[in-house]
Each structure stands twice: as C-alpha cells, then as structure tokens.
C-alpha cells in the first residue's frame, strides 16, 4: 500500500487524521461493509487518482476538476481535499461540516486533507480570517456539484428521474420506494468523476449545482467536536516538529549579536570538538551549524566563535525612546489621508475639545514552539514538512529562492504551534530547504527560544494623535485622527527576497514594501473628520529583528485601542453612557455594507444585555466610596473585522497598591453570520479575546540600541493561568435584518474578537480608577505610575 506513497507511513497517518473516536475502521466494522483501507490518493485495484503521487514531480492540482476536491471511496466514505490549513481554530472541522452538508454524507464517514501542495488545490492556505468566509464557498459548491452528478448517475442506475429521488447519507433512493436504492460507492466509489468545473480563479470555482439554502443545512450548525483534538491529547498525533527521516541531520542558526552586524570570520576550530559536528554553512551574514544530533547542533551553535563587525550607526533607538523617535521621524509614506466635512472648523466651534496621544509598542508572535521545518532533497525533488499556514506560498517562495522548478518542490503541511501570521513569513522553511540542498541530506532546523522571541516578525509599533469635539448636546461633531506605524519594509508572506535568510544573504529588493498605517473602520456617524495614517522607518530596515509582519489582525488591536479608547474619553466628557454613546452614533451612520448597521446595533445591544450593563457614565461612581486597594470597573469596545461585527465588555479589578489589573469577566457578542460550529466558534472567539488580553496586559518587545532584550518568558512575559478571567461569555448574534434568509453568509472569526481587547481593558481601567491609560501594555508598574501621577 505504501509503495505508491512518497511519504513515510507515520506521516501519512498523521495527515489522514480520521476522527479517532469514529475511525473508519470502527465505522466499517459496525456497518458490516467490506473493509478497504485507502491511503490518501491511492485507490484499490491499482487505479490511481490525480492525488496519488510518488517521487515527483508535483504539478499543481487542477482546481477545475471535481476529482481534485472530492474522492468517493469503495467503502462509501469520502475524502475532501482543500487548500487551507488549521492553526487550531477548528476550521478543518468546519470545512468538513460544510462539505458533508452539501454532499449529503455523514460527518463520520469523511476525512479531510489540507494544505498539502501536491494533492490539495491551492486556496492559499490560511490568513485574514477568510477560511470560512471566503474559501468555504468553493468547498460548498464543489460538494454540491458532486451530489448533483451522483444524482444523475443514480437516475440512470435506478431508471428514475432525479426529481423522484432522495438522498440521505451517501445513499440515493427512489422517494416512493426506498427498497430501490444505490450508494455513492456503488455509483462511483474508487473511480473518477471526470467532471470539469468553471471559475476564473479558485475562489470562484463552481459546478452547475446550487448550494443548499440555510434551511436545508443539517451538519452546519452542529457543535461537532474537533477531529484533531483526541490525537493532540493522547500524544498520538505526528506534528511537523516530530517528523524524522532516515539520514536526517539537525541544524541551528547563529544570529548576529547586534542588529546590522557584518560577518568578518568564523572560527571553525571552535566547534571541532563537538561530537557529531558536520558542517558550518554560511553565506553573507547567514550562519548555521549542522550536526548529526539535535543537542549537538544546539551546543555547536552556542559554542561557535564568530567575529562580527558592528554596524556604523545604531540600528534603532532603545525601546524607551521609541515613541519620541516615531513622532519626530519623517514619514516614508502616507497610507490614509481622508477628510470629510470640515474638521478644523468643527473643532474650533466645538463646546468641548479633547486631545490625546496613544502608544502601542512592537508586539511579537512569540510562538510557544519556535519555528521549525524539515526539508528532504531526495530523488532530486524537495519536500518540506512544515506548519506553514500558507504552505503553497512556501512552495512557490522556496522554488524561486533556490531557482528550482515549482514542480520539483512540495510542502507537506502538518500541525504546529500557533500561526497568527508568523508561519507564513516562514523563514525556517527557506532555511531548511537551503541547508538540505547544501548538505544533500534531509535537514531539520528549529529556532531557539531567544532567537524566536527576538527575531520573529513583529506587529508594528504605533503612535496616535487624536482630537475630538463635542457640541453643546454632547454629540461628537469632529474627529481628527493621525496615526504613525513603524512598518517600512513590511515582510509579507513567503517572499524569496524578504525572508530573513534572504536578507542575511544580502538580497535587497529594489522597492521595499512601503508598509501601511491604518485608520479605524468607518463605524460611527461623525460629520466632520480627518483620517491620516503615515508610515515611518527605523534607521535599520534590513536584517533587523524589528522587521514587521502580519500578527493576528495586523493593525487592528493597535488602531482600535486608540480609536475606541478615545471614543470612550469623548463619551465620558459628554457625561454619556459609553454603550448608548456608541449606539447613537451607529444608528446615525450610513455605513451599511453587509447590513453592518443593523448587525452592529444588535451586537452592541447583545453584549450590554448579556453583561447586564446598567447605563451610567464612566468612571464608576462607587470609586469615591471604595476604601480598599481593589477597585472594579467595566469597559466596552466595538469594532468590525471584514464581515464580522464584535462588541466586547471587560470587567476588571485594579489593585491600587500593586497596579495589578485582573480582567475578571469577559462578555463578547459576535456576529459572523451563519455559524458552522457553535462550540468551535465560541472557543476561538474566547481564545482570541485572551490573546488580546495578553497584549493588553503584558506583551511588549524591548530593545536597547543594539538588540532585542526581551528574549524569553521572563524578559517577555505573557498571559498566565492566574490572569485568566473567572467568567467568559460568548454570545453568538445573528443581527441580519432578515435573519432567516436562505443565503445567510458565513463570515470569519479568527481575529475579530482579538481586535477590541486592548481598548476594552483600557476603558475598564478608566471606569475603575478614573485614570486613562493610553500606553499599552498595562503592566503593573505602568498602571501604578499612572495612578500615582493622577492622585
């Protein structure tokens, strides 16, 4: 069986990922069906589908062929092939549900293969919370098309018109005579559909069939447990980090000790005594050591003596001086310059004027498991085992980086530690590929903790200057927003000329990415406003540990902190309840794309209702009477992310003696349209919030004028068990003006709840203490200093 496969069986098994609680074997036993164990892509009888691959080359799977998406097996089960990945948000389970529903097959009779560039169609992998929102549609349409084709085959087989047939769980029967039936397997099991699809691009892929109306969906909407969790809990899953191949060796990188340093020389003799030492590989400022065993490579990388020439000028200001630097820098570009109405005149004529500066430092991904990849150069091909969330981009990028034909490179996506944008700027995948080619052997690379925390891509640091004006009735009449982001030479996804190894090689693109600074989404009626957003650069733009990349909703948490924080300041200045202040401005807004106004009103109201919010202005009037150190407060923040609307209320306790902020309770109202899996969705929303809470309370990249100094879990603290709220409530809202419409869309959920968290916590701290924190994160010493400055 494994002869047709180019991958070790253990890896195949890991990728198959049949839900262990309802494994195919068990199903087949209980159903009494003929037991045929199919490996991915291979079919009994020697007939091989397009998905079956050997030692390469690996042409692109044709997304315009139905067989690329769906295979019906002789045992009346199905395998779905999709071009996405699942970073742990349960999207794999959701995709399976969507395709089961359209195909009319029980969930337990299916499995799903994701992100494997040689056998799954290129949907780009994951990112931007668009898996369910955008990529679920071609999945649904292809599954619906397969059902349509099967019905036509059944009509012929049963000599009955399609209209007189009915489908239930992969079996088609005559509606009037259920004894006359045929299974999907009997119609096509193990054979090709040979049905062409249409579509100008993969997102538009479709057959002739229509997807089902919402009212006919049965699997979508169920809280089916995630299929990947049992194997993650009992230790049986093979992760990308676990793959071992015969002849495999281990590499570790040696990074410049000072950002922008230049390699002078390497003292190879300094590691000659390390057992298992094989080779030092170096080009430009990239240095790696390769050893037989992992711990040997770690030791050699630590022990290697490298002489580096420091850069002529400091690569960046120290983190303590960062915000002054940003405000004083000449912008490299302007991303947003929008004016509506006459904000200057409106500000001049306002009854109340407010002005505030907000600041957010660089924040990192700091994955719990440092970056890792294994590249195998066997058979003149290159196979990379990787948790890259955009495995297709890694394949294309590596092919270009190493000047290999794309057909000779494939990426086998496997589970890995958190993604959130980091693994698509997949430095280590390129490193493993390069080293494997240099060594001619499979090479596994993993970064070390300090390397990962210092050198991963960063979410851009921001400064904001906001001015606002209220009229005599306390209505917001003018807003002047100006943001600056340190985002010049932003690292995008798997670019062969911006991944770190390319930069260290000395590769420079002629036109660096200008980067982007953002303005808030239009969500309120503000008659006069100016939105300006500019990008600035640090002195060192290349080979820097402060290179920016996409971090979970790349600019959203920063921008929403400033904007929703300032809206909260204006509500307080108006003496208004912060919920009502927002509702009034939403109701008056003409922003209604995807029925956003109605959905926003419903969502903010749902959050307030679930929280049992009593209307009053902030700060909390109980503050005056509170004697002890602990003061309670609550704060709301509201925002959009693509099609999704989210309102979050945080309840905090602030300790006035220690500065500790504990977010005791969270309520999130979340409208992402049609819910595919309520349980999985709620969990993702919940963890998105807590990730945001970590950024609100703890996360900050610190550096001196040479290097990043926050390099581990002591110097770079993160949210812990003791920070966890005692209560989290997620309210799923369907605020569509026509909530029962048959074409209700499904929007994304990977990032929306992450976005408003810094703002919600800051607003709650204000409610508790009467002190406005405009500089994240709200670590104890910063809270204490702010409280003392205001006392």
């Amino acid at each position: 069986m494994s002869n047709t496969l180019a991958l070790p069986q253990a890896i195949e098994d890991a990728i198959r990922r049949v839900n262990p609680s309802t494994s195919r074997r068990n199903f087949l036993k209980s159903s009494g069906a003929l037991v045929v164990t199919c490996s991915i892509g291979s079919l009994p009888g020697g007939k091989v589908l397009a998905q079956a691959v050997g030692a390469g080359p690996y042409p692109d799977p044709d997304y315009l062929q139905l067989d690329t998406w769906i295979v019906i097996h002789p045992d009346n089960t199905a395998t779905f092939y999709v071009g996405k990945t699942d970073g742990g948000q349960g999207t794999g389970t959701a995709f399976r549900q969507m395709m089961c529903d359209e195909l009319d097959i029980a969930y337990d009779k299916t499995n799903l293969v994701m992100g494997r560039t040689d056998i799954t169609p290129d949907q780009g992998g994951s990112g931007g919370s668009d898996g369910v929102e955008r990529d679920g549609w071609p999945m649904r349409r292809t599954a619906a098309e397969a059902r349509r084709v099967l019905l036509e085959l059944a009509a012929e087989h049963l000599n009955t018109p399609v209209a007189a047939l009915r489908v239930s769980d992969a079996t088609i029967s005559v509606a009037a005579d259920s004894t006359r039936s045929v299974t999907y397997a009997e119609l096509i099991g193990g054979r090709r559909f040979d049905v062409a699809l249409t579509g100008n691009n993969i997102n538009a892929t479709t057959g002739v069939a229509q997807v089902k109306p919402v009212q006919e969906l049965r699997v979508i909407g169920q809280s089916i447990p995630r299929y990947d969790i049992p194997a993650k809990v009992d230790g049986s899953l093979t992760w990308a980090v676990d793959v071992q191949l015969p002849g495999m060796v281990h590499a570790r990188n040696v990074k410049p000790p000072i950002a922008g340093a230049t390699l002078r020389s390497i003292d190879e003799a300094s590691v000659a005594d390390v057992p298992g030492f094989l080779r030092i590989v170096s080009r430009g400022n990239y240095v790696a050591v390769v050893c037989e065993r992992e711990e040997q490579a770690i030791r050699a990388a630590r022990q290697l003596k490298v002489d580096w020439a420091p850069p002529a000028q400091a690569p960046f200001p120290a983190s303590d001086a960062l915000f002054d630097y940003i405000r004083g820098a000449e912008p490299t570009s302007v991303s947003v310059a929008d004016v509506s109405g006459d904000p200057d005149a409106a500000l001049a004529g306002a009854s109340v004027r407010l002005e505030a500066d907000y600041e957010v430092p660089f924040q990192g991904h700091t994955a719990i498991g440092p970056a890792h990849a294994l590249a195998d150069p066997s058979d003149g091909q290159l196979t990379i085992y990787s948790n890259d969330m955009k495995s297709y981009g890694l394949r294309n990028g590596v092919a270009e980086f190493l000047s290999l034909p794309r057909e000779r490179v494939r990426v086998v996506y496997m589970d890995g530690p958190q993604v959130y944008g980091r693994t698509a700027a997949d430095d280590v995948g390129f490193e493993a590929a390069f080293l494997a080619r240099e060594l001619g052997r499979p090479v596994r690379v993993q970064w070390m903790r300090d390397e990962e925390t210092a050198w991963d891509t960063k979410g851009p640091a921001y400064t904001f200057k906001l001015r606002g004006g209220l009229d005599a009735q306390g209505k917001l009449t003018a807003l002047d927003y100006a943001s600056r982001a340190v985002d010049y030479n932003h690292v995008n996804y798997n670019e062969p000329d911006t991944v770190l190894i390319a930069q260290l090689f000395g590769i420079r693109r002629a036109n660096p990415d200008p980067g982007e600074a953002k303005a808030p989404a239009s969500q309120y009626a503000i008659p006069n406003q100016r939105m300006m957003a500019s990008v600035v650069s640090l002195p060192l733009a290349w080979e820097t540990p402060l290179r920016t990349g996409n971090l979970r909703d790349p600019d959203g948490p920063q921008v929403t902190f400033a904007f929703e924080g300032f809206i909260d300041e204006l509500a307080a200045a108006a003496g208004a309840d912060p919920v009502q202040f927002r509702l009034d401005m939403i109701a008056a807004s003409d922003e209604d794309e995807r029925f956003r106004r109605a959905r926003s009103l419903a969502t903010v109201r749902a959050a307030a209702e679930a929280f049992e919010w009593d209307a009053r202005p902030a700060p909390n009037p109980r503050l005056r009477d509170t004697q002890g150190p602990i003061v309670p407060g609550r704060g709301i923040a509201f925002t959009h992310r693509n099609g999704t609307v989210v309102a979050t209320i945080a309840e905090v306790e602030v300790n006035r003696d220690t500065g500790r902020v504990w977010c005791k309770r969270l309520v999130c109202a979340h409208d992402c349209g049609l819910t595919v899996n309520p349980m999985g969705l709620k969990h993702t929303v919940e963890c998105g919030m807590l990730h945001g809470l970590s950024r609100a309370l703890w996360e900050e990249v610190q550096f001196d004028t040479e290097k990043v100094t926050s390099v581990d879990w002591v110097t770079h603290p993160s949210l812990r068990h003791s920070d966890t709220p005692e209560s989290i409530e997620v309210v799923l809202v369907n605020g569509d003006p026509n909530p029962g419409r048959p074409d209700l869309p499904h929007y994304g959920a990977g990032e929306a709840s992450h976005k408003p968290m810094i703002a919600a916590v800051a607003n709650a701290i204000y409610d508790a203490t009467g002190v406005r924190l405009r500089r994240a994160p709200f670590r104890r010493e910063r809270v204490l200093a702010a409280l003392r400055a205001n006392s």
Partner: protein, 171 residues
C-alpha cells in the same frame, strides 16, 4: 557516548548517548516519543514536561543520566488505552487551539491532582501558573481540570462500598 538505562512508560529502554544530553532530546529523537516538545529549553514554559516518579519535570534541562525514576510521558498516561480522566476532560471541554503546549498542561495537572485531588480554583491557578499557552486556552484548561476532578470523584463514589460499611465493620 555511553549506554543509559531509562524506565519510560512502564518499559525499560537503553540508549547510547552522551549522558549529559537533556532528557527531552532522548525521549523525542531516540525513543520516538512525541508528547514532550521543545518550547524554550529554559524550563520556563512547560511544553517539555514529563512525570518522573509522578513529579512534573521539565525534560529540556534535565541531563538524561540524572534521571533514575519512572518516566511517564503523555503517551504513557493511557497505558491500556483507557484515557486518563484529564485527557477525557480535555476532549470533553475541547481544550486545545493549536495544542502544542497541552502536553505540559495535562501532565502538570496530573501531578497537581495526584498531590491534591480536590484543588480550589486558586490552587488550580497557582498549580498551573508555570505552564504557558500562547493560544491562551487557559480558561478551558481550568474548566477541564475541574471537570476531571468532578468526574473522578463521581466515579470513585460510584465504585466505593456503601458508606456505612466502611465506617462500621471495618473500623
């Protein structure tokens, strides 16, 4: 290199290694165990946790030669295929997001419950404090620990002899 004998998940294993090698790499690369994972190499995060004679131990910094006790990895928590109540609770509560850290979360919770079968919320937070999750699944982890405590108590109540019997005749 020298031969080191380890007791792992109920079996005796011999490995020919540099005895100062941290246990993590021996378990993963020589014995093919996938539960413990590299997270920091500094004993700060807990991803590499194993039990040594029931004590949660960070295998990334422990020299292999210094380990003389019985090692249990995540794979060894369910030796007869019967999931540990914590593993079952982890599934019931659908705890993981990515799941990379959950080895350390589960094994640390196991050691905690072995020492204190009925911890308070505060004791759970304190006992788990040193195990990090960057997907922030903490809320569900804590819920799963409480569920495992409840279900273990319910199971032992069911299996226990009649209350009066124990107090009376046996005393």
């Amino acid at each position: 290199m020298s031969v080191v004998t380890l007791r792992v998940n109920g079996a005796t294993r011999e490995v020919d290694i540099d005895p100062s090698t941290p246990l993590l790499y021996v378990l993963r690369n020589d014995l093919g165990l996938k539960g413990p994972r590299f997270g920091c190499g500094l004993a700060q995060c807990g991803a590499c946790t194993v039990l040594v004679d029931g004590v949660a131990t960070r295998s990334c910094i422990v020299p292999t030669s210094s380990v003389s006790g019985e090692i249990t990895t995540l794979e060894g928590l369910a030796p007869d295929g019967q999931l540990d109540p914590l593993q079952q609770a982890w599934i019931d509560e659908q705890v993981p997001q990515c799941g990379y850290c959950q080895n350390g979360q589960i094994l640390t919770a196991r050691a905690m419950l072995d020492a204190n079968p009925n911890p308070s919320d505060a004791e759970i937070r304190a006992g788990m404090e040193g195990v990090l999750c960057r997907c922030m699944s903490y809320y569900r982890i804590q819920a799963a620990i409480k569920r495992a405590v409840r279900e273990t108590a319910a199971a032992s109540f069911k299996d226990a002899p009649e209350p009066g019997l124990e107090d009376g005749a046996q005393a």
